[in-house]
Symmetry: C2
Subunit: 143 residues, 2 copies
DNA sequence: TGAAACATTAGAATAATTCTAGGTTTGTTG
DNA sequence: CAACAAACCTAGAATTATTCTAATGTTTCA
């Protein structure tokens, strides 16, 4: 699994391990393998099932339960962001910076929208003592 | 089930039946009962399970499958709008006009945001031949 | 190295939703 | 009204996505 020809956008195993350690997660074999799939190839929108399938296809020996565990802990630690499209479709986005999404209804694909392309004149009160944790904008495209 | 004291904001059974007929749905006993629960009391954000429970509590004899069928056909006909919060939480909104939502993460409650309070500078191309079917904005409030 | 904390796993369990197939209701037409 | 087809409803089985259980394995660090 270890790659010896890193590109500048491709985190090395060491970087990945540090990435995990930095947020308080042990860089176990499975997490490293999943992190590699998730973060190696730039921004991705991936489902649990897809990640599991990808991992297995690459010969990574990991259970579906571990995939769910990893996705959730990564999300809790801010390495991923979860995007819910409808009751049966939930994606994990490796891009955790502030941005929004196109959703192509036919193909089920997501595409990032830069945050600058959306302006919120966000007047309504976030009631006393509460704050906005996040704003999700999904632009649905039919076709 | 028939109410004899309508208020001005409360559609009469006749109105409900017309409402259903207008979109090509037969005003069956079950649909009328569900429509009454859904549309009688102003804007609501309701789940399938809640609607089913409400109906049963009111003595309406309806199956869960019918509740799902009704919610989906109502949505397909534009009488409802589905709002997906996360993989395990999906609401049906009786307000189908253009608007957005606060989501209170602690209580799981939704609250409408008037469309005027959100401005979209929506530059990115909706690729050739495709169009925006809808824009969902969810402002998540923690606490 | 050894113990404790943390992770992983297979498989069972759960939850939400959809499907199936047969019975019922509704709208239509004569 | 009678009769028929289409639309509808339903219980219960099936499916799908996800979580749980509890036993085993791994990592960390003193």
């Amino acid at each position: 699994m270890t790659k010896s020809t890193p590109k500048e956008t491709v985190p090395s195993d060491n970087d990945l391990a540090l990435h995990l350690r930095k947020v308080g997660l042990r860089p176990t074999r499975q997490r490293m393998a999943l992190a590699e799939i998730l973060f190696r190839q730039g921004d991705r929108h991936i489902t649990a099932e897809t990640l599991y399938t990808d991992a297995v296809a690459q010969g990574v020996n990991v259970s579906l339960a571990t995939v769910y565990n990893a996705l959730h802990t990564f999300t809790a630690k801010g390495l991923l962001r979860e995007i819910s499209i409808d009751s049966t479709r939930s994606y994990f986005d490796t891009n955790t910076s502030d941005h929004h999404h196109f959703y192509f209804e036919k193909s089920g694909r997501l595409q990032d929208i830069e945050v600058g392309h959306v302006k919120l004149a966000q007047i309504p009160e976030a009631p006393e003592g509460k704050s906005v944790s996040r704003v999700d904008v999904i632009v649905r495209i039919n076709g």
